[in-house]
């Protein structure tokens, strides 16, 4: 079976090391002999799901969000919603995460409609509030078993995302700011769609998360298989080095 990694708006939302997430998925499939292909989906191009897919919906600059909102207001947005409702695997980062909610309010006060598939919205920072920037350590429930696992990453966002009652956070902030710097939540999860502010090279340092996305995509395509373990020594070192620096001391 071939896994297709759909890189949404690869030509514009490529800041903050988005490419790290693509490479992590691609390589970890390749190392296990899973055929994987990366497909860039740009503005004006429609989605082409193949049955075994992961959709990466990356972060970009504010001014580009308007272009994406326009592009998603048509059939493409509707298709992405039905993919998510059907249990398809989607990872939205920064701008992509915000656009999965009800709306995104620009600093000028304009409300850009999102896909509305997640019960959340994003407000601009108020005068005097800082951008939320820095290393983040989040505790995330492991979908397999009920233990908690940790994820490290870097956030850089002005917008504050507020979760609605029906939204499930992706995890709890141990260090850093998360969704809004106030309620201790980070990201959101709905079925197999994940949204997060941990941008760019999120997956390389948290390889179990990469594997979880791959596993979910295979399962969604009807293939039950355990992923064989890889030697993650280097990744674990990188995780430990960041986690060790940011973890609050008691």
């Amino acid at each position: 079976m071939k896994l297709t990694i759909h890189h949404l708006y690869a030509d514009m939302m490529n800041m903050y090391g988005d490419r790290g997430n693509v490479i992590s998925l691609e390589k970890r499939c390749e190392w296990r002999g899973i055929d994987a292909e990366v497909l860039d989906v740009n503005i004006g191009e429609s989605l082409r799901p193949t049955g075994c897919d992961i959709f990466l919906f990356g972060g970009g600059q504010d001014q580009e969000q308007t272009l994406l909102v326009e592009d998603l207001s048509g059939p493409k947005g509707r298709e992405l919603v039905s993919i998510i409702e059907d249990g398809g695997v989607v990872l939205g980062v920064c701008g992509g995460y915000q656009l999965m909610g009800h709306y995104y309010e620009t600093p000028e006060g304009e409300r850009l409609p999102g896909l509305g598939v997640m019960d959340l919205h994003t407000e601009p920072r108020k005068p005097g509030e800082e951008r939320l920037i820095g290393n983040v350590l989040v505790r995330v429930p492991d979908p397999v078993g009920d233990s908690l696992r940790e994820v490290v990453g870097f956030e850089n966002h002005g917008g504050r995302t507020m979760l609605g009652e029906r939204a499930e956070p992706l995890g709890r902030v141990v260090a850093g700011h998360g969704n809004n710097g106030r309620d201790g939540t980070e990201g959101a999860r709905y079925k197999n769609a994940y949204g997060t502010y941990l941008h760019g090279s999120l997956l390389p340092k948290n390889p179990w998360l990469t594997d979880q996305l791959v596993q979910a995509a295979l399962r969604h395509a009807g293939e039950e298989r355990e992923l064989e373990p890889l030697d993650d020594g280097a990744e674990e070192e990188a995780f430990r080095s960041v986690a060790g620096r940011v973890r609050p001391r008691r």
């Binding site: 514009m12 800041m15 790290g20 490479i23 580009e64 951008r131 090279s201 070192e237 080095s241």
Partner: protein, 477 residues
């Protein structure tokens, strides 16, 4: 404040600044490059305005993400040959306080400058402040790349900030812009009060064919449509056109063509200017230095320097501190190449580390990545660097040992190399220890190529200095 009182304060400000400079040198703190400026401005808030008005040829300022220091030094070299004495701020002092400090130390106690012209490299965000106070005649914008976004926010905003200073230029002044960087070129429409001059490269041979993963602004700054590129040189820099509106790459008045790159040894090209053309060779590697040389030629040309002096100044230019630096370390050589962002990193890999072009000779390589403010706290940009080019067949010599990594983010760098399918050598976060071990691993008589981010470079230079291989930086001129 009344002008008489202001003039009375000037000598006091200069005196206080001298004392501050002396004290900070005596304490061995950072070379004393901004402190005198801070002190002088406290005593006489208008000191920068007053001193810069007394420069007979006014001032020129250069800003942009990449190459400020190198280009400013190139202009300095040209002015020296033209016999024009320039006062310039030192590396790492590119805010308004650093510019003030430079002018204060150039003036005598009565406030009379020794120099004829001010030559300043200015941090992007500080341009409006410097333009409002210093008597700028020329402002050059070299490029705008993604760099330390966590400090400035968005790129387009940075462009707006810079353009807001254009109104402070006199009608006989000039805005010098990179024609090949769409965002920078688009600022030209906002330079209404003075003339606008563009520089650019015309060399179809250097088309990389694809927009690199690091390309920052590939959409039309006016209508948002994806730009159509005829040629891509590096990042988002190239020859482009907007398919929807009238925006396109402006015609450069200063142009480089017929480039022949000779790896680390430099580049020959034809320089065309409004006053004539010449063949020349610069001794700095990579296309980015051709851009630096072009910008320097444009700034000097617009400041009234003749073409002969421009060409001589560029040909005799040796390189700038910390950017490209060779240091003899016992019976080995250390070659330091500062890493600032993905575009620069790609250029360095292509020029030195990959031998695909036939000129790469770096076998022994140490990469050191820190994540302090000055390096950029977010290291996700490492994933935008095309390390994959080194994994291609024949890109590294068979005998080359694996790349060594160091820095606060050594482990992140190791993961990046792993996912590019490159073997990883030693992973030693401590810079001093990594340098010692990397020098030891370098065979005598060979060169160790060190690719550090800014603060990692300072750490490594300090270690080299402790080993007796170099001097503290404020001693350099």
């Amino acid at each position: 404040m009344n002008p008489l009182l202001e003039n009375l304060r000037l000598p006091a400000a200069i005196l206080a600044a001298r004392a501050a400079q002396f004290a900070s040198r005596a304490l061995g703190r950072g070379g004393g490059s901004t402190m005198p400026g801070v002190v002088a401005r406290r005593v006489a808030p208008a000191v920068l305005k007053q001193l810069s008005r007394r420069l007979p040829r006014s001032s020129v300022a250069l800003t942009g993400t990449n190459g400020k220091t190198t280009t400013t030094r190139m202009v300095g070299g040209i002015l020296r040959i033209a016999g024009v004495r320039a006062v310039n701020n030192s590396t790492g002092a590119n805010l308004v306080t650093g510019v003030t400090a430079a002018l204060v130390s150039d003036a005598d106690l009565s406030g009379r400058p020794a120099s004829e012209i001010g030559l300043f490299e200015v941090d992007e965000a500080s341009v409006p402040k410097v333009a409002a106070e210093a008597d700028l005649k020329i402002l050059a914008v070299l490029n705008l790349f993604r760099d330390q976004l966590d400090r400035y926010g968005e790129l387009a905003y940075t462009g707006k900030v810079i353009a807001s200073a254009f109104g402070d230029l006199p009608s006989d002044g000039a805005v010098v812009l990179n024609a090949d960087d769409p965002l920078v070129a688009s600022l030209g429409t906002q330079a209404s009060g003075s003339r606008t001059v563009f520089f650019g490269v015309d060399e179809p041979e250097l088309d990389t064919g694809t927009l690199q993963h690091v390309a920052d602004s590939k959409n039309c700054p006016f209508c948002g449509t994806a730009l159509v590129y005829d040629t891509v040189y590096l990042g988002h820099v190239g020859i482009y056109d907007c398919p929807k509106c009238s925006f396109g790459r402006p015609e450069p008045g200063y142009r480089a063509s017929g480039l022949a790159m000779d790896g680390p040894r430099g580049t020959s090209f034809r320089l065309e200017t409004p006053t004539g053309s010449r063949e020349l060779k610069i001794e700095l590697p990579g296309l980015y230095n051709v851009y630096n040389a072009l910008a320097a030629a444009a700034v000097a040309g617009e400041a009234g320097v003749g073409l002969d002096d421009i060409v001589r100044g560029l040909e005799e230019f040796g390189g700038a501190f910390g950017r490209v630096e060779r240091i003899q370390a016992g019976n080995r050589e250390a070659f330091l190449l500062l890493i600032k962002n993905p575009v620069g990193f790609n250029e360095i890999l292509r020029t030195f580390v990959s031998s695909s072009g036939g000129t790469g000779e770096a076998d022994n390589v140490l990469i050191a990545i820190n994540d302090n403010d000055a390096d950029g706290r977010d290291v996700s940009w490492l994933w935008d660097v095309d390390f994959e080019m080194l994994a291609e067949k024949g890109a590294r010599s068979e005998a080359a040992p694996p790349i060594m990594v160091s820095g606060v983010r050594a482990e992140d760098m190791a993961v990046r190399l792993k996912y590019a399918e490159l073997p990883v050598g030693s992973v030693i976060p401590d810079r001093a220890e990594a340098l010692r071990s990397a020098l030891e691993a370098t065979p005598p008589g060979e060169t160790l190529y060190i690719l550090p981010t800014y603060t990692a470079m300072l750490d490594i230079r300090k270690k080299l200095s402790d080993l007796g291989h170099t001097h503290p930086f404020w001693e350099e001129r």
